[in-house]
Symmetry: D3
Subunit: 199 residues, 6 copies
């Protein structure tokens, strides 16, 4: 099940896209497939990553968020698993392990978030995210109240919903086009590094 | 069930957003609620409409598309109904009626697209869109072949999938936040104007 | 997707059926397709409309009902949409708009009744109707209590259930046989007439 | 879970209803609960049994049918089980056993009709009935062709659909109101009587 | 739909299996098909019946149980019906009738256990069993509390879950292999014997 | 979500169970939680592991199987993910990685087996396993033919079904009782060892 749409050559891409991809490669050591998989359509690529950054790096948009980086990746991993999106579960599961420094957490939320080693606040967050993912038409005031009881405010709730909705888009694009996770993601964050690399 | 998040004042919005909204108002005669409903987060707003334009106005991205304007709105109306999104069914149903010049079509695809007055090519398009909407994890080569048999190429298929995925995001944002369609949309395109208003 | 079963000629129908159809035509200005679509089987036609009248025009059966005409049509439109019955959503949506004098209401309940501009009493009524429509085997005492808390008595509850059940029959007959709504229904009740036609 | 609505006294019922009930009692040896359970609303009662007779006793409507009495009861038992209607599965399962002279058949179709001792023609009939019962919105030409390949004509297909639709109404009325099958039904037709009672 | 895998000859079976089967035949008057249907794989047969006995005859494992024999068969009949397993519903329904001395009970729980003539304690037991059967991933502390409120302790709850899980295995084996219930089961326990056979 | 039932002390267990557990510990370096989690009920424990061994180590039952060790673990990992069983996905995913020497495979089949790097033969095997897992009542001759077309014989098909059915039992026991995978499983088999540890 390889990618159905051929990946573009990096050098053929518009300058801004190429620059961003090279930055990511520099930082991660490889180019995550989503960057090339969507790049054949530059306008959509730019909108996708602008949306991504606005939600996943709120400080880049001049916002702070009540959700931690780990919270955000946990929402992505959990709801992407509900959508059975291989790319997003593996790639964002890797990032979740790194941010939360919990090597087991991504597999737990991917299989059954109700069994995961998370706080009651995170459980409420994921319950809401799953409802946005699967039955957004049924959301009602009581769903907001359950989150407020855990200390989330309306901006946090917007974040949970928007991250879920955005990755629902991402899940569908990846699944439909046969986008596969880079092999590097599978192992990332699984081996704890309690000690500095140099001693 | 009014909008849960207060709408921002038009004058408080960043210049680029305000300008676009005023243009839309000029053209449509009113401001569709999605423009104000998402504007409280300017970075997300810009990404949302950039994505929207890239998919729904491909010529703005320097692309042509094998899907007509009517095809695109038909995908939106049909899949938004599957997601029970009141805003998108009513607003895009209105645009669908106008583009296709078929006053009955939007209600047909919203209730049961299998009974709608559409071509076999459009039926295949909507079957694929519904699968992306509801079971994207199951898409396989046979789904592509069914579309190719109706004359769609791989770029057209990307369009069908991407429009469905993007409005799946839009549906979830609208439903979760209580966004309601402007009353103007309900009647738009329902009264055929066969003759020029003045002659 | 035209009607799969040919419509009988009006003049070939038994006297009682022809008379009723002519009365309806006189009043509505056209013959709603359900009248001809079912007429090929006179005994079933008579039973269908006798049942219809007993539930939808209770005064014809010497009963009064705690449900208004608008309440009844709202139940039909909402549950017919859950069954994706094009004929009933369009035809009864039209009647709902007229009775309730709310041009937007039918589209709202058809897409997502939880977002519609209705009273808490009507919301409880539709919650129950949807349960009868989709999971009648699960109905229990608590469902009755939720309705009683909104002022419905046991006769009203019978009305809600029976209307839902009867139109579940109607939905299946219309969908299976390819019955389509008359074009006239789509626009009926959408243009408010606040003032008398003549002044 | 007794009947939620009190059963009317036989003597308080209108003459026509009372007469019919006494005839049934004479023939069956007891009054099936559906006759009293619906009798509190005479107009609905009359429409219900007129519809019932038109479908289940077509000769009473001057029609013959390509479905045998056993076929018809098999449709009722199978689809009523899908709707988890205790009254109809038990009562019509009894009649099915009697008509088909197969003491095991009703339990088979109620649990899993795919495992029942029936003909390929009956299997096709039940596949269609189940689709009308559960997904009538999806019925299409191919469903008709599958039945035609087994020798059913369009009138037979109407019968299958109408019987399913009518008992879907009956199932919902029985389940919602707590109607329970008479104890007599459970054993009826289970003990084969190969020999005349008197010899 | 006969058994897809040929049944082994009784005389070809290992001694221990043959002995057990002959004992069952002696007691029941016939060999229930599950005994021969699984015997083609002796190691699996032995494990299956060891598990069966450990759960269904706890005294054989030196345990007592808070569930009666009737409770256990009621769990089997109800959850096997949810899995549409013809063999288990018919065979264990027969045993349920005998243990509970209620000729109507098995049909009631098979069609809709919410309508069955059972105690609130048994209703809670079946609610839990159905959740283990259909959504075991969702079980949480509140489910245990609902059972404790009816007097079940943690060992009883283990019994409910384990019986449901074991017969979920049995249901799948029977359905996949086309195992059919012996005709004898259908009538067993339906005719009450209030008086001793001899007087 | 720790284990709801306290784990027994190893020394309190019957000799045969203790011996087996010590052997496993010797080989694996730790005691997988399922061994202690079920040991509080020795008779059930013995039946469970006898069944497990008969299916997963057929040579122990004097059988050979057309399924490889990797095939068997792939069935377990895939269907356990459909049942959202954290213990089985993580523990058997580890074993799958080791047997197949494919560090990425377990995550692939757990998220979406249709996207996994497997052969058409394995894809057919998993399609059948998923049907046994989720809709065993619908299995029919065509399902067997699809497997035969890939070279599976009836004994292989029994293996696929029985492994799926047995782990459906295991999944329900693990989920209901809160059994969690040992931390050791999460990393096992993820780091390829192409070269001998010593050279």
């Amino acid at each position: 099940m390889a990618n159905r749409y051929p990946l573009p050559d990096l050098n053929s891409l518009p300058e801004d896209i190429r620059t961003r991809i090279l930055q990511v490669q520099e930082k991660a050591g490889f180019v995550p497939n989503v960057f090339l998989g969507l790049a054949r359509r530059p306008a959509e690529w730019r909108a996708f990553f602008a949306y991504h950054d606005a939600l996943m790096e709120p400080e880049s948009a001049g916002r702070s968020s009540g959700l931690s980086k780990g919270d955000r990746e946990m929402i992505v991993t959990t709801t992407s698993s509900a959508n059975q999106c291989l790319y997003c579960v593996v790639a964002h599961g890797a990032i979740l392990r790194i941010y939360e420094k919990k090597p087991l957490l991504a597999d737990q939320v991917a299989v059954n978030y109700r069994k995961a080693d998370i706080s009651p606040r995170q459980r409420a967050m994921l319950d809401f995210a799953m409802k946005v993912c699967q039955r957004s038409q049924d959301i009602e005031e009581a769903d907001f109240q359950a989150l407020q009881a855990q200390g989330f405010d309306d901006e946090d709730i917007w974040d949970i919903a928007a991250i879920t909705a955005f990755f629902g888009l991402s899940n569908r694009m990846a699944s439909f086009s046969g986008m596969l996770p880079n092999p590097e993601f599978y192992l990332m964050g699984r081996i704890p590094r309690d000690k500095p690399a140099r001693a």
